[in-house]
Amino acid sequence: MKQYVYCLTERMNDLPSWRGVAGSSVYALEVDKFSVFASDFFGEHVRIDRENVLAHAAVIQQVLNHTTPLPFKFGTLVTEQQLDNYVSATREALQSKLALVRGCVEMNVKIISSREPARATASGNEHETPGTAFLFEKRREIRGEEERAAEAIEIAAWLEAQLGDIVWETQINPNRLDTLLVAVAHLVRREAVEEYRARLKEARHERPELHFLISGPWAPYSFANIDLEFKTHFGVS
């Protein structure tokens, strides 16, 4: 049997009863100076389906109602020994991450630009040889990506200017390919969430060419980066 882990927090002493992935009871393991929220998992595979994803998110959201957790990636299965090893090896980093997110939540802004992207000019000669045509096509792609990245950074900076000091940390994820231009995650103090929404509501009128999706508050997924990923991939602790 393994533990399915949801998130890690500063020590919490008493808990309500929650159900997690596969309907199992969620409990808090006391590991070093932390509480790790987990449930028993008897299978070998964690299926990515609606029910499991929602159960995983619901546990983290419940914990977020009490304290700001560092979430684990969906599907993380560990033994208690692996968890002990992981926590003892990363204790200071975890404490520092918890200090960073303490009292904060993550707010997300996703932006689609309705403006037609500027197309870099194609090569002049349509009858180029394959290698040359390939390089010209690459040049067009690279220029397009650079333009999109520059636009994403400009928009993120504009957003930051609108939100001012209520944003503690920002994570910008420019998107090179799809119509979604940029996804920005902001770390915001809990008491500033309403003001954050109000400022964004005001700001989006200034940029009618942009379509916004604002969501949150969420656990600080973009700022936690609890890296069990390599351990999950390689099965080592």
């Binding site: 919490m12 299926r47 990515i48 009490h66 304290t67 009292g103 390089l135 890296d227 991939h233």
Partner: protein, 121 residues
């Protein structure tokens, strides 16, 4: 009930957009690219290693492409050299595509989260 050091307000998530359909389409594309399961087993170890190696190759391949385009724009390559370089990069791209297919990896899989620095590609 909770003796957490914090005493926060409950965090009720909300989603606000005037263009739900556009965002649903984008998120659906993302969901379609997710694997159907996550697991620690011999196969996922092999795939994890392949993902890491191919990500690094993809990163280098993109650098080579950019360097080639820069040299082409700089005018220091003859038409024959441009053709040769283009063909070499085209073959490299095709080979990488073949390896990705072999290991069941999609384009979006070839990336690394470098934490505060961002993503590799």
């Amino acid at each position: 009930m909770s003796l957490s050091p914090e005493t926060p307000r409950p965090a009720e998530p909300e989603i606000d957009t005037a263009h739900p359909q556009e965002f649903v389409e984008q998120l659906r594309c993302l969901a379609d690219s997710l694997p159907s399961r996550i697991n620690i087993d011999a196969q996922s170890v092999e795939q994890g290693l392949a993902k890491l190696v191919l990500t690094l190759i993809e990163f280098i391949r993109r650098l080579l492409e950019k360097q080639a385009v820069r040299r082409m724009e700089g005018g220091d390559l003859s038409p024959e050299q441009i053709e040769e370089l283009g063909l070499a990069l085209m073959r490299l791209e095709a080979k990488l595509q073949e390896l990705k297919t072999q290991f069941g990896l999609a384009d979006e899989d070839l990336n690394l989260d470098l934490g505060p620095i961002g993503r590799l590609i």
